[in-house]
């Protein structure tokens, strides 16, 4: 058999080791890049890994569907990972009980603001229906957002990227905006960053302090669960 046999190479592309290996390699490079940048939110490892792989897939002429199939194990692992978010949430049950009113009140206002502001602005600017539906879960953590997007008729791939862009935006402007507002209470800063910009905002809040980080994590998880319940119900109404 010739070493340039296209049929053989196409089969090799579909081997899980290739897709999974390429994904891990791109992510490791991206994580190193972020560490080297001093932990800047703009060098988000997920976004950089996506761009690296998108470039590689495009330049090599590999079909996206083939890459997605051979990296299928990684995508499968996302669902159990979302389930495991129950563990840190359960560990924080005392914190939730002690600050129930502040947490629930912030969610009651922050959750609808997150969904309606983004979809409202996109709708006013005549964005496509797919764009608006894909934007709706943008403030929730990506694993949950992808599930919501599937349920309400958005495009999961588009949602994944919009979610990361939202996270980076929140992580960059969050500390500045809350400082300008005169909000210094770490619980409030954390909740705002976690509810508006999920895991990426939470990582930034953790750099500001342990309390801010803990409340950001709580805001992220609870916002994700509640949005996953409320958005499909609201979408069913229309």
């Amino acid at each position: 058999m010739s070493p340039f046999d296209p049929v053989a190479w196409h089969k090799i592309e579909l081997v899980p080791a290739v897709g999974v290996g390429a994904t891990i390699a791109a992510y490791v490079v991206a994580v190193r890049l972020q560490r080297w940048s001093g932990g800047s939110a703009i060098f988000n490892p997920t976004l950089i890994a996506i761009l690296l792989l998108a470039l590689a897939v495009k330049l090599s002429g590999i079909d996206y569907a083939d890459y997605a199939r051979s990296a299928g194990v990684v995508t499968f692992a996302l669902s159990p990972a979302v389930v495991l978010l129950a563990v840190p949430l359960f560990r924080q049950r005392r914190l939730i009980r002690d600050s129930a009113r502040v947490i629930l009140g912030s969610l009651a206002l922050g959750l609808p603001t997150g969904v309606l502001s983004a979809t409202g602005i996109a709708w006013l600017l005549h964005a496509d229906r797919v764009t608006i539906l894909s934007l709706a879960p943008k403030s929730t953590t990506a694993g949950i957002a992808i599930g919501i997007s599937e349920k309400i008729g958005g495009a999961p791939s588009l949602t994944a990227v919009l979610v990361i862009m939202t996270g980076i935006t929140g992580a960059v402007i969050g500390p500045f905006v809350t400082r300008q507002m005169g909000v210094s209470d770490p619980r409030s800063v954390g909740l705002a960053m976690g509810i508006a910009s999920h895991g990426i905002g939470t990582a930034r809040a953790l750099q500001m302090g342990e309390t801010a980080g803990a409340f950001a994590g709580l805001g992220m998880s609870l916002n994700g669960i509640l949005t996953a319940i409320l958005l499909p119900l609201a979408a069913n109404l229309f």
Binding site: V83, A86, P88, A108, A118, H126, V130, L135, A196
Partner: protein, 129 residues
Amino acid sequence: MLLIEALRVLICLCAGEILSGLGVLPFPGSVIALVLLLANLALIGEVPPQLGRLADNVLAVLGMLFVPTGVGLLAYTHLLRKEFAPIAAAILGGTLLTIVVTAFAAKRLAELETRKRIARDREAVDVAL
């Protein structure tokens, strides 16, 4: 045992996917499963150590798990280019507004809580006197 904890997660996930897939509940299967695992932990009353370790290890690489889905944006480069302005405005404006509203709500509620606690403490002092 680690495998038993992995099985616990997968059983929750199967139940969630069944409830979601059959349309019993309109929510994503993984989120239904998250709530089921939360209920399970509430029944046990603590996080089994092996489950805790599994969660810490998996969640440490959570950011990698949606990379293949994200690469699918290749199919939407046309849409992203066409709708760059509304998308950028929605993300920037939406995120800014969400941070402002949430931070304001949390701050007011935290202040209210502190004021109530002070009033309660003062009352207790009055009673004691």
